[in-house]
Amino acid sequence: MPAAAPGGRTDAAMEQIIDIVLLAFMVVVAIAMIRLRNLYAVVMLSGIYSLLSASMFVVLDAVDVAFTEAAVGAGIATVLMLGTLALTFREERPPKRRTPLLPLAVVVVTGAALVYGTLDMPHYGDPEAPIHQHVAPRYIADSPLEVGPPNMVTSVLASYRGYDTLGETTVIFTAGIAVLVLLSGVTRRRQRRRPARGDESREARR
């Protein structure tokens, strides 16, 4: 290999290999999640899936997204799901139907249509792709001067698109209120009801 470029080229090849392996892991974990019936294992696998996707975001140079996905997707979502399992069931009931052919066909056809749609897409990492030609260069060139923080994602999030972030906060607030309203009194009612009647089917499935 010539002395000028070897570093860059092996780096790119390495990145490509990591990319392929991580995405393959994600597919394996997703299929395992579909097949398993123990919901506890499924929730643990979904934490692993989120962590793999966070690693993927680091490889794809989106570090802010990687932080958020690791904290929110692998952390908070897993905790919420474990809490749900504690209040409901650990196991999924075995299926009554045999292999669901119609849904499988729907999924395969949709997937094939989407793959056909990707054939025209710009290739991975192409600097000439249309997405890099419009407003992005302006944010990259001007945001450190106009807004200040060296991190351009922060500038866009908090300044140029500050209203979006405000709307996002509203969504979180609404969801938080809704969760509180739905869950208030669940444990209280459970404790009151338990001594009254056993309901065998419910207890048996735990």
């Binding site: 990319d19 999640m33 579909i34 990259i140």
Partner: protein, 123 residues
Amino acid sequence: MLETVLGLYNYWIVIVLMMAGFYTVIVRGNLVKKVVGLNIFQTSVFLLYITMGTVEGGTAPIVDAGADLYTNPLPSVLILTAIVVGIATTALGLALTVRIRESYGTLEEDEIIEIEDRMDGEV
């Protein structure tokens, strides 16, 4: 040929993950499993956006004296918002699941429909 496969590999994996999530949502009757399927679908969309924003040889969009090529910051911004909104919808879905289990004593879709039909019959 190899170049096309490598160039579009990320999109194809994203589609496989998307369809895995879609399949879980439409086939599985268990409501917790449906929420997990939605999460798989959601993460695949995040990957789709972030993949489109990547620039070969670029670095993370943080100003650095040695860097002249940055990854596109806009998909990152969109997906940051989407992740946070996603966890809000997940939390709401799970809270509904807990309430459904409390009222019906089951999380399987067909059993819930059966109970509903029976209740309609009594009325």
